[in-house]
Each structure stands twice: as C-alpha cells, then as structure tokens.
Symmetry: C2
Subunit: 420 residues, 2 copies
C-alpha cells in the first residue's frame, strides 16, 4: 500500500485575543512543524545600537523559567526536535519541528524563552564578542561584504529614522556592539510580542485542539510592537568598492520591482523566472553559457519594507567585469519587449512545479504559512496559486513587461580590485 | 480530510542486465523524483588532467541527440522539472524531480545526455575558462581554501595512483584544465556507465511499470567502470597555511572514523551527534557557549574511499586560535570516557527524529535510496533504522567509545595570518 502524497488540506487562520495570528494546516502523520515570526529584525535595531536583535536572540536562550542555559538547551534536545529560525532584516523567527507528542512542550519552551528569559548579564560580553567574530569572518568573504555595501548604498537609513535600517548584518557593527547594554536590550525586547506576529503550524490535530494548545502556550506574549523600517531605495547609483586582495570582481544590481499585494505580482514572478530560473534562463544563457563571462550569475526578488525589488549578482574576473555588467544590463533592458511564447510556458510550468514541491515537507509548509500571512495578509491556498498561474496569459505578462523597465532606475555596486 | 504523512512503503532493489542497480519506492501523488549516481567524480580525474569530471559534466549538457545546447536546456525546462546533482569527489549525480507524467521524458533526456552527447569542441575553451573562474573565486574564500589544503595534506595522492585523488575541487587545477583535451575527456566518458551506478526513484507507479520505464531509458548505458581512489589518510600532521589577508584563522581537523558497513557505525553516529548535533552538543558548548572562542564550530562524518572519517572545523580570531584548537582536541580526547545517560538519550532521539523527517520529501528520499545502495549496498528500511537506534544501549555506545580515540592520530591544518 503506497503512502499518499501530502496534498495539504484547507488551512485555518485565527487571531488570538492579544493579536497573534495563527495559520494552521492539518496533516496526518507523526510529526509537527511550527514557525513563529516576530516582526522585529536587524533593520529595527535602534540607530547606534546595531546588533541588538542578533545579540538579544542569542541572549534569550541563555536560560529561562528556572533553567540555566545548559538546561534550556538540553530541554530542547531532550525532545529530539529540530530548531530553525534566526534573525533576518525584518523579523526574528523561532522554528521547531519534531514528533507530535512533543508539540505542547516545544511551544512551552519557546514561550519560556520569550516571556521568562533569565538574561544573565555575565553572558553579554561573550555574546557581543561572538558577534564581533562573525563580523570579522564577513571581512574574509567578498560576496558577503558586497551584499552589505550594496544595502548601505541602495537603502540608506533616512536621516530622521530612529531605526538602524538595512546597512548592517544581524551581528551588527563594532560600534553598535560596543554601545548596547543589558538595559538597552531589555528595552528592545519590549517590542517582541503579538503585534504583527504570525505562527504557522502544521500537525495532525483537530483545529480546536491545535488552537487550544497554541493559545495556552502563547496567550501571555506581551503586546509588542510592529516597527516599520522604510526601504528608501536610491536609484541610479554607481559605486565601486576597492578590494585589492580579491581575485574576482563581484557585481550587485538592485532595481524596483512589484509589491506582494500588487495584482502584477504573479506576472513579475513569471518574468523573473524567465530571467533567472534555470539553465535556459536569459541571464544564465547570455552571461555564462554564451560568453563564459561569469561562473555564477543570478537574479531574484527581494522584499524590504513591504516593497519588492529585483536584485542580480555575478562574480567575474576583474578584466571581464565591465562586459559582464553590460550584458546583465542589456538583458534587463530588453524585458519591456516581452517574453516569447516558449519562455512564458516554461517559466509558468516551472513555477507550477515549485508550488507542488514547496508544500511537501512540514517544515517548509509551516514556513510558507507564516510567510503568506506576514507578506500577503492571508494564506494563499495552493489551488488558488495554481489557478492564478493558469489564468496568466502571454499577452497579460507582456503587457505588464511593456511598462516595466528596471534598468532606468537601477543601482550598481561592485567590489574587487581597483576599477579596471 | 487531512492528507496523509508520507510514511514510505517498502522499497524494491533491482539490477538491470547491464549492472545498473535501481532502488524504487512507491509513493502516491502527482510527483516523481530520481537520483542517478555514477561512481566517477573529481577524485577519479586522471592524474595531470584535474578538472576532467567537472568539465565533462558541463560538456555533456552542450547538446545531445539532435538538440543543441539551448534546445536541450529548453527541453528540461519545458517539462517544468527541477534538476539537481553535480560532481563530487566520488560520484557524478543527475537528479530530476517533477510531475509524474514527465518521468519518462525526463529519464529519456538524461539518457540522451549520457549516451548521445554532441560534445562540441568549440565549447571547451568556454567551459575550462568558467572552471578557472570558479577556482579564482575559491581564492576569495578562506574556508574553502582551507578545505582544499586540508584534503591535500590529509589524503595525498599515492605516488603510484593514476588517479588525481582528493586534493582538488571539481573545477580542477589550472594545470589540469590546461592539459585536458576533447580526446582525453571523451576517453574519460567511457568510465561513465552501469558499473557501480545506482538510480534511486520515488513515484506512484506499479513496480513493474517503473522497472520497464527505467530499463527502456537506461538499458543502453555503456558498461562503464568503477574506479577506486584510495583515501590514504596521513595521521598526525600539523600544517599552518599562511594567509596574511585573512581576518580569521580557520581550523580543520581530520581523524579516523568508522566505515559504513562496520557494526559500530550507528554507535559512531550517536557519538558524533553528542559531539556536534545541536546547541547542547559538546563542541558547541565548550568552544562557543562556555568560552566564546569561535562563532562557528562543528564536526561531521565524511566518507572517502569506503572509509569513514571524523572532520571538525572552527573559525576563530588569530589570537584565540591556539586555545580553540586546544579545547577542540580536549573534547575529542575525552570521547573514550563515554557519554552520559542524558547525552546518549538526547543524541538517539535526535537521530530518530531525523529518520522521520529525512523521508518526507520525494527528492530527499530518492537521494537517500541512492546513497543507501551506493554506501551500504542495500536500502535500509526506515523501520530497521529506528529499531537499530532503539536497540543501542548506553553501555554499548560507551564500550565502542572506550576503544575510539580519534585524537591519537588526528591531523590538523590551519589557515590564517602567520602563526601567532
């Protein structure tokens, strides 16, 4: 008797009295997965205290509810669960997956961490020091350095904003790590609560039972805040960051895109897939296959501050970097001429297959439930996604593209040996 | 009606007349995934022609069976399938997943690539050039450079071996790329065939139908060869590679481990999990949590030449690197004293949960089927794995550990600013 492919059942979306939104999907089997997303990330670090969200997330795990750091880690490991999550620019996530009988205990541990952390001050110097070591490690990676430099140039902090914004990694900056204290971190923790938070949960439970479990564990979460770090895109910048030690020149391109709730969103996804979704895609073909200009080249959508952006990356030899950039810009510049019927069909069938496979693992599905609610305000049923893709036409996508010219505003940041 | 967790059904293992082994597992649903593993990888590059396997794999996709490179890529993309695989030290893999109706066409395309490639000579300069660019990129990544240097020191090529061995990446070496030609690559392709090859396949098909599909597509694969690159472990080496530009010092440790078919394999896995399987693990706790010596530290098993090895890595500040190394060696040195009951229980429940979740996605399961046959000579049923873990005792694991002292033979390679 073959097992059944996990075609997911309908999901439910609840809002707890304190504001936490819970997206639940039932799936038979011995496992569970959840993904709790709080809308506070490194972009929301207070200006001058860069690294707060990253250090705080580590500090939270240094003991809670009567368990010291070691006992808390042991408690997670005792359950045999797998933990995921971490700190990104716009959110801090706590993910856990394991066997169903351990769901209640896993939720309780995450609640302990968020609500009853010890926050021992003796641990802080170790944590800021580890963050400094992570920053040192970034210095050894030109692609990571370029990504940071590109964020700094492309999305600078608005002068009036009290938030640090997008120009630093979760590990912060040396100055921010120097300035933060136990008190500033405790104040920062006040923003971690139900406001804007989402829990995605997949498990084989009656919906009522699932709701009761979640409410019992997380009802007490503080109100929290949903800070907004605006993505203040700077168009038409051209910056080269000299790095005499680098063997390669790394290129980063950023241009405006489409916001998730815009009706043109799916058409934009199709266009991006034709641009960079496989070996037949335009960028891969023009840069790598036809001209051998770069070993790695790609484009992808990025969401920041509720807006969508197109980003592209390539790593090339310093001598070939100018031609690599020229070819990438030329590929972007011909987007308004539209896709061919073949390109459209291929991109659409690639996206449809990814809808099927993206729902396969419980962990991935829990993450998708959370992301859907955070980004789209609701869970997008898989059938609706497939139907939305089916309803697209070549003409519709090309009508959209006729008005989409990312090159006109594109910002380019490069890093490598001095400009050649 | 909730969907059903994909508890996999029994798998079947067939050997085609030409020698190809096929591991099939039925799973209901719209998708399929397969993973074809040929036992020829970069370690089997002819000595002096380093890069052969890597360049050949790219060259195979430059047109086949009447389709030019573009048409071949389009044919894959037309199916909406996702491709995976690539070249590793000991194997070249072709992975495809998609919707069930496209399984036959996907197998046929892979067969075309392997059996009827165009191998256009005009493409070779572009491909070797891309490989050179990949090598340049490695120069910008100290952790990758260290991994290569550690392989070179720890597993040098036996002087009499005609194979290049483990000291270079799939992209080869500048000298090897310079020396390889269309003729040497065509000769290398002769070893790609059914000998030692394994296909893992998951799909909702009657086993007979699956067998007929596979046989129809792949029966014609040439006989091929199963070359053996011995992993000639060099114990007790201490090498520092100066890299004055690096901000960090990177450490690589390699010690003997347990071979996959050895009865002590599972006990070794439990010990490795206690050593480095989560936030309560010994290395993470001693190096990072207690002393803040390194942002990243880990240990993992590596299989080379049919043997198992323990490898460990950390990235530290140059000043703290000596203490980091000392603490890592101390943790390894106390393995013979055994695990505590808590550590044993935790490591075992972590491994049991990973058995459940590792089977969840079709792609992961197809890869596991292939790996099981390649490494263990058969498919290990999940129930057997769980029972094997249940049958382990603390005493049994500690009896094994009493005789396992990796530090006595350990080789240490470091890379960073000059020895401090």
């Amino acid at each position: 008797m073959p097992a059944v492919f996990p075609a997911p059942s309908a999901s439910e979306l609840w809002t707890l009295p304190g504001g936490l939104r819970v997206a639940f999907e039932r799936r038979a089997g011995p496992g569970f997965a959840f993904d709790l997303r709080l809308p506070v990330g490194s972009a929301h670090d207070p200006h001058g205290l860069e690294g707060s969200s990253g250090v705080l997330e580590e500090w939270l795990f240094k003991g809670a509810a009567g368990r010291d750091a070691r006992a808390l880690q042991d408690a997670f490991d005792d359950l045999g669960v797998r933990r995921g999550g971490g700190v990104g620019p716009e959110a801090t996530r706590f993910g856990v997956s394991g066997l169903r009988d351990d769901l209640r205990a896993s939720l309780a541990l995450v609640a302990d961490v968020l609500l009853r952390p010890d926050l021992p001050e003796t641990e802080l110097p170790v944590l800021t020091d580890l963050a400094r070591q992570d920053l040192d490690g970034l210095q050894d990676s030109p692609p990571d350095l370029l990504a940071l430099e590109a964020r700094r140039v492309t999305f600078p902090r608005p002068a009036a904003s009290p938030l640090a914004g997008f120009a630093h990694p979760p590990s912060g900056t040396p100055e921010g790590l120097e300035a933060l204290t136990a008190d500033t971190l405790r104040a920062h923790l006040e923003s971690y609560g139900q406001a804007g938070a989402v829990l995605g949960l997949v498990a084989d439970l009656e919906p009522e039972a699932a709701r009761a479990l979640v409410a019992g564990a997380l009802d007490g979460l503080r109100p929290g805040e949903q800070p907004h770090a605006p993505a203040d895109f700077q168009p038409r910048q051209r910056i080269h960051v000299p790095d005499e030690d680098a063997e390669q020149t790394h290129l980063s391109l950023t241009a405006p895109g489409i916001a998730p709730r815009d009706p043109r969103w799916l058409a934009w996804q199709v266009a991006l897939t034709a641009l960079s979704g496989g070996s037949a895609s335009r960028l891969f073909h023009a840069v790598r296959e036809e001209r051998g200009l770069a070993y790695a080249v790609s484009a992808s959508p990025v969401l920041l501050g509720g807006q969508g952006f197109l980003t592209a990356y390539a790593g090339s030899t310093p001598a070939r970097a100018p031609e690599t950039l020229e070819v990438m810009l030329a590929e972007l510049a011909r987007l308004p001429q539209g896709l061919s019927a073949d390109e459209f069909r291929r991109a659409r069938s690639g996206l449809k297959a990814s809808v099927v496979f993206g729902a396969e693992s419980m962990r991935a599905r829990a993450g998708a439930l959370t992301r859907d609610v955070a980004v789209f305000g609701r869970v997008r049923p898989l059938a609706e996604l497939r139907e939305g893709l089916d309803a697209l036409t070549l003409e519709g996508v090309n009508d959209f593209l006729a008005g989409y010219n990312p090159v006109s505003d594109i910002t380019v940041v490069t890093l490598g040996p001095s400009n050649v």
